[in-house]
């Protein structure tokens, strides 16, 4: 067997390991129910997509900041409509209340979801700003 063949086999082996580890470590987008079920068997962090809970007037409710402002918890509703309290160990991200959608990355611990990261999607973040002629309604 030529040395290059051994090398080739080695390379293929490493490539296979890479692919397996990627599928192993890749997270997934799930809802709270699945996340809870998954938390029993494995320690992986998962992504849950959802929105903040709002009252009838459209105000965000259920935000509970810690006394020292250095952490907070909030109520989130996943895509299936399930509500869950989520804990976050860092200060509230400043555009948090304006967000249209939130993605929490973390896992269940007991009955609470602890997020390690929060990704926000703000309505205007990637879209062009609306044209607002009210403030500049000058007609040339």
């Amino acid at each position: 067997m030529k040395f290059s063949h051994i090398l080739g086999i080695l390379v293929i082996a490493v490539a296979v390991i890479i692919i397996i580890s990627t599928t192993g470590d890749a997270s997934s987008y799930v809802d709270f129910k699945e996340a809870k079920a998954m938390a029993v068997s494995d320690t992986r962090e998962i992504h849950v997509v959802g929105t903040l809970k709002k009252d009838a007037q459209g105000h965000v409710t259920g935000i509970m900041p810690a006394a020292d402002k250095l952490s907070f918890s909030f109520l989130m509703i996943d895509e299936k409509g399930e509500e869950q309290q989520v804990f976050y160990n860092n200060p509230m991200p400043p555009d948090f209340l304006r967000s249209e959608q939130v993605v929490v990355i973390g896992r269940y611990q007991g009955n609470s979801f602890v997020a390690g990261q929060i990704l926000l999607k703000c309505p205007s973040k990637y879209q062009e700003q609306e044209l607002q002629p009210t403030q500049q309604a000058q007609f040339n």
Binding site: I19, D68, F87, N89, P93, L131, P133, A137
Partner: protein, 845 residues
């Protein structure tokens, strides 16, 4: 007025550039065919058409810049990327902020490179430029913005669209000629000098990768399977250098401007350029082997082609909108994904077909000796490709989701939750391999090796690196085994390459490029190792407050809350937050917000007092001051254990488009950088909530309490001028002077004013606000009957910031390594180029 002519001119140039690129491809194609009757004639036509193409592109660039420079906000591109207050150098950045503009800068570089090749490529001109022109056809089509009649198919997105054609706003129904007064401005994160030079560098790198690819395709096409490598080699080095520097510039920009706490985030967009760069470097090494002994043709061809296809793939990833959910800075979909896919597939097919056709004719590399340099360099290239592969597989996760959804499967795969750990687990071991190889292979490179010689050559470097490594261990406290291995390997790479360099000194410094570049890479590795592996969050919350009993183990609050002027301990530092500052157009330094009174215009303030910077007066009381209203700087004073003081100004802005953006400030030390950014600040738009006013009757000399501090009414004084209130001759204004004694012996003075307007028979007052104490004192009445006055006070919440601080040890090694990499590449490119010139002179090429 809508300036339609300039947009139409620009669009006209785009069409010309597109047609001319097609024509140039056609001409150069015929010029390079063997069976062509009059190749010289075709060549001439090729030059003319590519020349027209380039001129037209310069016209497109000029038109777009004209629109931006003259603030023609009737154009969507100018409106959405620029604004009136933008300085000229940022106008250049907003030029490529948008997707169309960034395509434009890319093809602009390629046109320039094409012109250079036209002059210097000699016999390779026709086939190489045929490829370049063909690539330009695809790129120009991206900004064509033309609709094919009948098919309702739109090709490309034009940067010359009028706002009224893009936006649906009721105002256009009333007045089609409506022009907004101002644009929405440049994304504030891009208002940074690195962003002025980083994107053009990166796109120059992208453009440069086309040259080796074009040579390679030309070589396969003309069946000159290895002849293309010599002329392509300096171009490949240049591409590797420029692209590498572009990537590192982006890293540096991220370090300076973004608050994710580092220079590399494993964001898909970063990965998308890192992957082709790795393959490019692997290909470069194959080409070098080929130049040395004529072997490795097949790998050189493969790496070059794969590298370019990866450039196309990364273009597709970042611009098709497919990464929308997983990346913070990829472009949104402009409806170009189909076109981008076509672009990529065209070259996959073309290159694949050529390689398949020529595979059997290419010289095969015989089995190589383990003691040969080729063998070890080949292993190095293999590791580089595995590194690329490991990053590519997870970065493409959104692509798998899309492909699966075509088949009706919901894959729902998400990127790894902790990308840093995930990627590092692999990349670290590959890096160890590369470090060891780059140290050892250099010895093989410069002399014939066998086992005995190898031993004697390696003993000294190995011993020296072990000594250096153990000294480093003692000094730096590296505990984790994997970091230890990387540390030793990287030090070995530095030391052994340094020995190689010493050995070369007597022979020829021109040959030093390789070892200098390798030392640079090894230092970059060391810098990454320490700054990320040993980056330490020092702003641990030490208040002892748990946020929830249930998660006691999880408590990992990495932020410190600082109240205005209240010292707070953080590790070995004492921190004091000293208030909010602004930057002015015409005055240096940071200006305290209290010194400025806002006006109706957001960027115009009136000075409340004199401003000095380094002893020089820049403006006085009552002067108007132009500021950059977007950014607020939060002054934080650090005092370290030794009593040494320094001040940092982390900044934050609330941007209507991007939301809250915090940028760090960095205290640069030799041993480590101290990196600080704000995590939360009080919302500047939220008006302060004042408590109900409490009235107190006070005589001159009386002591009273203000927000729990002792205060004294020192006296009353009639004044003739009151800030912001015009006074008549008959009006009376009286100022009360109140001294407040706060913690640590500091004193504050409040001077509220009471005003009697005699002709209007009204009275009013101008309260004094002391931000530091969060109090407002108003002088609301005078009581002549008992010589007293009424002072009413109300309180508010004190100003605060929540801050995160990190220590980044030895990050300077990373930047020094980058510099060495540039120098090494520079030497190598110079050497290859002068060799090539010499050969050309001799008429061999």
């Amino acid at each position: 007025m809508v300036h339609e002519w300039i947009g139409q001119t620009g669009h006209f140039f785009v069409v010309i550039a597109f047609v001319a690129a097609l024509w140039a491809t056609w001409n150069y194609y015929w010029a390079s065919r063997k069976d062509t009757v009059d190749p010289a004639g075709w060549l001439k036509l090729g030059r003319i058409s590519f020349g027209i193409h380039s001129l037209a592109l310069f016209g497109v660039v000029a038109s777009l810049f004209f629109i931006i420079y003259n603030h023609y906000f009737e154009y969507h591109y100018a409106w959405s990327h620029s604004s009136r207050s933008l300085p000229v150098h940022y106008m250049i950045s907003c030029f490529w902020e948008g997707q169309e503009g960034s395509f434009l800068i890319w093809m602009f570089w390629q046109a320039l490179l094409g012109l250079i090749l036209m002059k210097f490529a000699g016999k390779w001109e026709a086939p190489v430029l045929a490829v370049v022109a063909f690539v330009q056809v695809f790129l120009v089509s991206m900004i064509l913005g033309s609709i094919i009649p009948g098919l309702d198919l739109k090709i490309g997105s034009s940067p010359f669209m009028l706002l009224r054609d893009v936006m649906e706003a009721p105002v256009f129904a009333l007045n089609p000629d409506y022009v907004p007064e101002d644009g929405t401005g440049l994304n504030p994160l891009l208002q940074n000098y690195w962003m002025v030079i980083h994107p053009p560098t990166l796109f120059l790198g992208f453009a440069l990768t086309l040259v080796p690819f074009a040579y390679c395709i030309a070589g396969l096409w003309k069946k000159q399977h290895s002849d293309w490598i010599r002329p392509a080699l300096s171009w490949t080095s240049a591409a590797a250098l420029v692209l590498g520097v572009g990537i590192l510039m982006g890293a540096y920009w991220a370090y300076e401007t973004l608050n994710f706490g580092g220079y590399w985030n494993w964001d898909p967009v970063e990965n998308a350029v890192y992957v082709p760069w790795l393959v490019l470097v692997a290909g470069l090494h194959m080409m070098i082997i080929n130049r040395k002994n004529g072997t490795a043709v097949k790998p050189a061809v493969l790496f070059t082609i794969v590298m370019f296809l990866l450039i196309l793939y990364s273009t597709f990833l970042t611009r098709s909108g497919i990464l929308g959910n997983s990346s913070v800075h990829s472009f949104t979909d402009l409806g170009l994904s189909g076109q981008l896919l076509l672009y990529m597939m065209a070259f996959v097919v073309l290159a694949g077909w050529l390689v398949a056709r020529e595979w059997k004719n290419m010289p095969s590399t015989a089995e190589v000796n383990v003691y040969s340099r080729e063998f070890w360099i080949f292993i190095g290239a293999t590791i580089l490709s595995l590194m690329a592969f490991q990053v590519l597989v997870p970065t493409s996760i959104p692509v798998y989701n899309s492909i699966a959804s075509w088949f009706g499967i919901e894959l729902n795969m998400a990127p790894p939750a902790n990308p840093e750990v995930f990627y590092t687990n692999f990349q670290l071991w590959f890096a160890v391999g590369l470090a060891l190889l780059s140290g050892t292979a250099q010895f093989f490179w410069w002399q014939k090796m066998d086992l005995a010689r190898l031993k004697s050559a390696l003993v000294l470097p190995a011993v020296v690196s072990l000594i250096v490594a153990s000294m480093a261990l003692i000094a730096l406290d590296v505990k984790e085994p994997k970091y230890l291995v990387l540390l030793v390997a990287a030090i070995y790479a530095v030391v052994s390459n340094f020995f190689v360099l010493l050995g070369l000194k007597h022979t020829n410094l021109k040959l030093a490029g390789g070892s200098v570049a390798h030392i640079g890479i090894a230092m970059i590795l060391l810098g990454i190792l320490f700054s990320s592996g040993y980056s330490k969050v020092i702003s641990q919350n030490s208040s002892g407050l748990l946020y929830s009993r249930e998660f006691a183990d999880e408590v990992n609050q990495e932020n410190v809350l600082l109240w205005l002027n209240e010292p707070q301990k953080m590790q070995q530092y004492q921190l004091v937050y000293k208030g909010q500052f602004l930057e002015a157009n015409d005055a240096p330094g940071y200006i305290h917000k209290q010194l400025l009174r806002p006006t109706d215009k957001p960027d115009l303030y009136i000075a409340r007092g004199d401003y000095y910077y380094k002893g020089k007066k820049y403006f006085g009381q009552g002067d108007s001051v132009q500021v950059h209203p977007e950014n607020t700087y939060y002054r934080v004073e650090y005092t370290d254990a030794g009593g040494e003081k320094f001040t940092l100004f982390p900044r934050a802005q609330v941007n209507p488009q991007m939301g809250f953006i915090a940028s760090p400030d960095i205290f640069r030390g030799v041993k480590s950088d101290l990196y600080t950014h704000v995590s939360v600040v009080p919302d500047p738009k939220e008006p302060l909530k004042w408590s109900e006013a409490e009235d107190q009757k006070i005589k001159i000399g009386d002591k009273f309490f203000v927000n729990d501090y002792v205060a004294v009414l020192e006296g009353l004084q009639q004044v003739r001028e009151v800030e912001g209130v015009p006074l008549n001759e008959t009006d009376i204004a009286v100022k009360a002077r109140i001294r407040i004694m706060a913690e640590g012996g500091s004193e504050f003075f409040a001077e509220p004013v009471y005003i009697l307007k005699m002709d209007e028979k009204t009275s009013g007052n101008l309260p004094a606000v002391i931000d530091d104490l969060a109090v407002k004192l108003s002088f609301t009445a005078i009581h002549p009957e008992d010589d007293s006055i009424t002072i009413s006070q109300s309180k508010t919440q004190k100003d605060y910031i929540i801050l995160k601080a990190m220590e980044k040890p030895l990050i300077n090694i990373l930047w020094t390594g980058t510099l060495l990499l540039v120098v090494g590449f520079g030497i190598a490119i110079y050497r290859r180029y002068s060799e090539y010139k010499l050969l050309q002179k001799k008429g061999q090429d």
